[in-house]
């Protein structure tokens, strides 16, 4: 591997070096967390309003 390529690979994050199906599961997990976060904000407003 050339020095340029090694440097380039070193800059890649762990996520981008996962196989495609694992990366998709990761994105799905993030989307689920964002949706659940919105649900939590929606529900917790009850406490804020009470």
């Amino acid at each position: 591997m050339t020095e340029h390529a090694k440097n380039k690979n070193a800059g890649q994050g762990r996520f981008s070096q996962m196989p495609q199906h694992k990366r998709l599961l990761g994105v799905w997990w993030v989307l689920n967390m964002l949706v659940l976060g919105a649900l939590a904000a929606y529900v917790l407003r009850v406490l804020a309003l009470s």
Binding site: S16, M18, Q20, L49
Partner: protein, 439 residues
């Protein structure tokens, strides 16, 4: 649309009902009741978003690839199912008539009636629908039967859930939110109409004719289609199309196949089709002259527009079809970048276009590696499975990360080769593959 934009659109569609409910400033019910309402709204919004991820909409899948949008369609169905199943269990407030001093129904849930019955029906049908989808290969004898059931079943569940949401949902009593639900349902149903009605109409105006169907290897055929009264299909090497041979364009009797011909071969489309059940087992009986319809092109297994100093085409079995397209196009363009073709099969009789591959790879900077897991006596090529070990033998311990590695074949083969390439330091964005089977 790229992945980030698609994710943003998904979140926007899914969260807008929840946002409108919050903005409505309606006095909330208790904590658990609000959790139940929120889950119900999210489940229904995800269900509606699923329609757009399932269709053949290039605006949705063009950037990330249809295999990716289809995988998200499958994964998000699970998210939807969990939220939908939990939704009714969190309610604490009793059912009952609206009280005169409680016009916003803070103190009672909807009266038992049609709106609850439709919700219950959707609640029962949705898990059955998801299970049916997961077991589709065992349950359905034909791809056509599966598609009709999936499309009509999804429309029925969406309509039942819409009725329940709009007529039993407390927050949907706000006209703005009710309009959003109805608008999203309309978009979802329009996407079905587009696939089941509009696309067939467009295909009917652009028919094709089967020029020949010839056996090219063991249980493997090459079908050649010629355009009938039009210029043909503009596509990029490596893409695929849904092909319907001998049926009405409205029949849904169509199957996806990779295009094996090069875009440079004007007009003609060649497909390599292996007998794998359903329609493909009858491909040898399709007579020349049969009318056919092509929906496409689709797919991102293409080297166009991606900088690379060389190309590795790694195919297992009938996965050679898109590689032939790419190789034929490189030859037509007199592309002098190096190419390594790695082609795996079980037996020698399964090798497709062996002589052409040897001819195309006879140049100095091209190399053909053939691999058989059950080689005949005197076989001079590689033996064993097309796996990580073969990848290491072919590309060494330091594959060039500036090449493009294009994979097509059985899911296990693609996974093994992908993991091996990444392990050898190839950046994942230099590996192209399309995988449609996960579950």
């Amino acid at each position: 649309m790229n992945g980030i934009a698609l994710s943003g659109l998904y979140l926007f569609v899914v969260l807008i009902p929840l946002g409108l409910a919050m903005a409505g400033m309606r006095e909330p019910r208790g904590f658990w009741d609000e959790a139940a309402s929120g889950m119900g709204m999210l489940a229904f919004a995800i269900l509606l978003a699923e329609f757009l991820l399932s269709g053949r909409f290039k605006a949705m899948s063009g950037g990330v690839g249809m295999d990716i949008t289809m995988r998200f369609h499958q994964l998000l169905a699970r998210s939807c199912l969990v939220l939908a199943i939990l939704h009714p269990f969190f309610y604490q407030t009793p059912f009952g008539r609206a009280l005169p001093y409680d016009p916003t129904r803070q103190l009672t849930l909807a009266e038992p009636g049609l709106a609850l019955a439709t919700g219950a029906a959707a609640w029962v049908l949705l898990p059955a629908f998801v299970l049916l989808s997961l077991a589709r290969d065992k349950v359905f004898k034909t791809y056509e039967g599966w598609r009709w059931t999936h499309g009509l079943g999804a429309a029925l569940i969406a309509f039942l859930a819409w009725h329940h949401t709009v007529y039993a949902g407390r927050y949907a009593q706000d006209p703005a939110l009710a309009a959003v639900w109805t608008g999203l349902l309309a978009i979802a149903l329009a996407s079905l109409l587009s696939v089941y009605l509009v696309r067939p109409l467009l295909q009917r105006a652009r028919p094709w004719r089967v020029a020949s169907v010839e056996k090219v290897a063991d249980r493997t055929w090459e079908a050649v289609l010629k355009p009938e009264g039009h210029k043909g299909l503009e596509f990029r090497a490596g893409q695929f199309g849904w092909i319907n041979m001998g049926h009405s364009p409205f029949s849904l009797a169509e199957n996806p196949f990779s295009i094996a011909s090069a875009p440079a071969e004007s007009g003609v489309l060649r497909f390599i089709i292996k007998e794998l059940g359903d329609f493909t087992n009858t491909i040898g009986n399709v007579p020349p002259g049969t009318i056919a319809y092509v929906d496409g092109p689709f797919g991102n297994l293409t080297i166009d527009g991606i900088k690379a100093t060389g190309h590795a085409l790694i195919a297992g079995g009938v996965g050679i079809a898109p590689m032939l397209s790419i190789l034929r196009q490189l030859e037509a363009e007199r592309d002098d970048r190096p190419v390594i073709v790695v082609y795996g099969n079980r037996i020698a009789d399964q090798i497709v276009a062996g002589a052409e591959l040897r001819s195309l790879c006879s140049k100095d900077n091209r190399h053909l590696v053939q691999c058989l897991s059950e080689p005949p006596e005197g076989w001079a090529g590689e033996t064993g499975m097309l796996d990580g070990a073969l990848v290491r033998r072919v590309f060494g311990s330091t594959p060039d990360p500036d090449w493009l590695y294009i994979l097509c074949g059985p899911p296990a083969m693609m996974s093994g080769v992908e993991v091996a390439l990444i392990g050898l330091g190839v950046p994942s964005d230099r590996i192209l593959l399309e995988r449609f089977t996960y579950d």
